[in-house]
Symmetry: C2
Subunit: 522 residues, 2 copies
Amino acid sequence: MSDMTDLAAPKRRRGGGRAGHSARAGGHVIDQMPWRVPVNTDRPTEPLPPEGVQAIHDGAMRVLSEIGIEFLNDEALGHLRAAGCRVEGQMVRFDRAFVEEMVAKAPPSFTITPRNPDRAITMGEGHMLFGNVSSPPNAWDLERGKRPGDMATYREFIKLTQYFNCIHFAGGYPVEPIDVHAGVRHLDCLFDKLTLTDKAVHAYSLGPERVEDVMEMVRIAGGLSHAEFDAAPRMFTNINSVSPLKHDWPMLDGAMRLARRGQPVVVTPFTLAGAMAPVTLSGAVMLSLAEALAAIALLQWIAPGCPVAIGTFTSNVDMKSGAPAFGTPEYIRATQMTGQMARFYGLPLRSSGVCAANVPDAQAMWETMNSLWAAVQSGTNMVYHAAGWLEGGLIASPEKFVMDCEVLQQFQRYFEPSILGTTEADLALDAIAEVGPGGHFFGCQHTQDRYQQAFYGPFLSDWRNYEAWQGAGGLWTAERAHGLYKKILAEFEPPPMDPAIHEELAAFVARRKAEGGAPTDF
Amino acid sequence: MSDMTDLAAPKRRRGGGRAGHSARAGGHVIDQMPWRVPVNTDRPTEPLPPEGVQAIHDGAMRVLSEIGIEFLNDEALGHLRAAGCRVEGQMVRFDRAFVEEMVAKAPPSFTITPRNPDRAITMGEGHMLFGNVSSPPNAWDLERGKRPGDMATYREFIKLTQYFNCIHFAGGYPVEPIDVHAGVRHLDCLFDKLTLTDKAVHAYSLGPERVEDVMEMVRIAGGLSHAEFDAAPRMFTNINSVSPLKHDWPMLDGAMRLARRGQPVVVTPFTLAGAMAPVTLSGAVMLSLAEALAAIALLQWIAPGCPVAIGTFTSNVDMKSGAPAFGTPEYIRATQMTGQMARFYGLPLRSSGVCAANVPDAQAMWETMNSLWAAVQSGTNMVYHAAGWLEGGLIASPEKFVMDCEVLQQFQRYFEPSILGTTEADLALDAIAEVGPGGHFFGCQHTQDRYQQAFYGPFLSDWRNYEAWQGAGGLWTAERAHGLYKKILAEFEPPPMDPAIHEELAAFVARRKAEGGAPTDF
C-alpha cells in the first residue's frame, strides 16, 4: 500500500466527494462537506398495495366522520362549526368531502428562508432536510453522565447545530434548559438560536405569548418588515396531537397563529402502537393520519394554501416494559406506509432519526440507521432529531450528535449523482487495458485525475487497521466523538449578524422579560 | 405504564412477531425467532437508468472481447479454446455472443439441501440467506482482545452459526484455525462444521484434494450415494478472481470440480475501486462483472445449466491510507448497481454484511447496517459475513456475531407480510371508537388478542429507560453481547446425527489424515 500512501498523504484532504474541493466551511477541527440539501432520487419503498393505501384513507375518513376528533380550543371549534363540521361539545366530526377539499388546498412544497438566505430550505420536491435533536429534558455525555438540561448545555448543542453543514435547520430546544424560568426561557433560547445560528428555526406552540415572541424575534433577526415576514415562510412550528383523537389548546392556538401569517405547521401525532394507538400498524398509521388531517383541514379552512406537512411518529411499545421502542422493524414499515399516504395526499413528510438506546453504542446506531433508512425509503422531506437523540428522546448527547453527523454526511454523499456516472470515462476501459491483469490502479492517470473527489472522506470513522487504530489510543467511536465535540466547541465562531439587529433582538428580549415573559400556568 | 406491565409481565415471552408462539427453537438462553428464510418483497433500489445498465453490460462485454481475462489454469484454457474463444498464452478473449449464450444457460435459482433437509435454502426467488463471517485470520473479543485464530475459537463460532436460527448457512471458516496444520485443516474444520451444524456448508476452492474431501464429507454426512450427491446441490463454493482480470489455478479447479457435480459456484471478484479496480464505481462494477461472467461462461460451457451466482465485493479504498472501506455510500451504490446487473443477467446475487470498524461499536453497526440495507436494496439472495465481521474481514468477533443476529432477526421480522395487513380488523376502527379521545389501548380486547405477536421482541437490545438500564449494570451493547455469547456456548447442544454417519465421517478424516491430507505447497 506504499504507493497509495505516497500518492495520497501529502495531497489528500478530509471531506467526501465534491467536499474535497470545498473550503473548510465549518471550521478547522474537521474538514466537513459543504452545505448542501440532498435530493432523494431513490424510488420509495412502498409496502402497501394500492388497495391498502385506499383502505387506510377510507379508514382515516371514517375516523373523522364517524368517531370524530376532540378540539380543546374554542376558536378552532368556532371555525370548524362555521365550516359546516358537526360539532358536539369539543368533539368534531368531519365530512369526508370537506377534509379532502381542504387537504387539496395545501401546497406540495414550500421554502423556509431564515435570516441567512443561503440557508433557505425547501420542504418537498424530494429534498431531505436534517435537524438537531429536539426537546430532551436531559443531557448525557461520556464525562458528565446523565443530568438535567441547562442553558450552558443548550448552547453547546445549538453551536453543534450551527457548526455542522449537514444540519439544515434548528428544530426544538436540543435540551430543555430548566435553569431558566419557563416564563422567559423561550426568549433566551430563541436569542441564542437566532444569534448562534443562521439556520431556519422552530417555535414551540406552547401559548400565544411564546409563539408571538418567536415570530417577532425571527422577523427582527431577518431584518424584515411585518409584511415581508408574512409574505413567505421564515420559520415553522411542529404540533403534536394528544393521541388518541385529541388536539389540545396551545398546539392549536400556535398552529393557527402561524398559519394566518403564512408560516409552516408540521402536524405530528405521536401514535405508539399498543399504547396511544391500535396495536396493529395500519391502525396506528390510520389514526395518526386522521389526527393530522383534522388539524390540516382546520388550518386550510382559516388560511387556504398555507404551508403544512404531515409528521409521522408511529412506533411500537416494548410489550415487556411498555416503554417506547424506536428504529424497530415496525417503526420502519409504519414510516414507509405513512410516506405512501403523504404522497397520496400530496403533502411533504416529516419523520425522525430515533433510537431507544441509552448510550451512543452499537444499538444506538443500528436503531438510528433503521430510522434514517426509513426516512429515505419513505421519501421523508424533514428528518427531525437527526443528530443527538438517545433514550427515546429523553437524552441529548453530543457524542451521538457528532456520530449522527458523520452518518448524515454519508447520506448526502449517497445522493450525489456523480457516483452513478456511466460515461465512457467512468467505465474506464482504457485504464483497465493500461493496468492489465494483476496490476493496480493506484498510479494510473485515470485514478490520479479523480481520487481526491472519488470517495466519501470521513471525519469520525476510523478506517485504519487494528494495529494502527490501537497505536493511536484504541478509542471506540463514542470516545472519538467526545474528543471531537469538545474541539468543535472550543473553536466555534458564531455566524455574522448586523450589530444593529443584534442590539434590537437583545432589546426585545430585555423588554419582554421586564414585562414578565409568558404565563406558566397552562 | 403500570397497566402495561401488569398485562404483559407474566405472559409475555421474548421473541418477535410470530416467534412469540414458537418453541424455544435454539436453546434456553434467549428466545429467538424460529428458522425462516425471509423473502424480500421490497422493490429494489435501482440507481442506474436503463441506458446505464446497457452501458455497463456493453463495457463488460468489451473487457471480455477486447482486453481479455487471464486464466491461470491449463484445463480451463483448453475448454475455452475448444469453445472458440481466442486464447493467447493465458489470456482469453471472449466473443460477446458466446458469453451471453453461456450466461443464459445458468438457472435463475437453485436449492441447496444440507444433511438436515429442513435447512434447505433456495438461492434466488427473492430469498435472503444469511451466513456467518468467513475467513478472518484473527479473533477478537472483549476479554481476550485480538489474537490469531485457533481451533477452539473456530469451534465457538461454528456453534454460534448453528445456534442462531437466523443464520441459514455455514460459509467459510469463521476464523482460520492456524494451530491445525494446513494440510489437514480442512478435514478437522469440515468435520466440526458437519457435526456441530446441520446447515448448508461451503468448500474452499484451494486445491483438488480439499475440494474432493469436502464433497465426499458432505456426501457422507448426508447419507447420500454418489449419484444422489450429484443429482442436486448439497453444498457450494465461492471463488474470487485476482482482480484485475485474472482467475487463478485453484479457484478455477475447484469451481470446475463442483460445477461438474452440479454443486453451486458463487463467483465474487474483490474489486476495490481505486486499488484493484477503477476509481469510478461503474468502472469497478463493470470490471467485477466481466471477471464473474468469464468464470460463469467457462462453467456453463463445461456443465450447461450448472448453478452459479454473481458475488459482489466492490467497495472503495480509504484514499488516505489505502485501506479498504466497507459500508460506505460508494459501497451501497455499487451493491445496488450490481443488483441491477444481476437481474439483467437473470442470476442470483451474493453480497456481504461488512464494516471497516475494529471493535463492535457504533461505527461497526452503522457500517454494517449500510451493508445490510444495501443487500435488501440490491435484491441480494445470499448475504456472506452477515454475522461476526470486523476490521474489514481481518477479525471475527463473537460480540459482533450476537449483535448482527439481533439485527438479522429484525430484517426477518421486517419482511413478515403480517405487519402490513389492512383488513377491517387491522384498521381497528372499533377499537379506536371504544377507547375514545385520551384513552389508551393497553387493555382493550383488540390489543389483548394481538400483543404477544404484534412486535419484534429483541434478545439483545435494551429498551428500558436509562435508570432501569443503569440499575441493571449499565452495560453497553458490546458488553451485553459478550455475556450472551458465553451463555450460548455453555448451553450449546449439537444437532442430532446418526452415530453410524458420525463414525463414517470420523473414519474418513482419520484415513485422509493418515494419507497426509492435502499438499501445502501452492
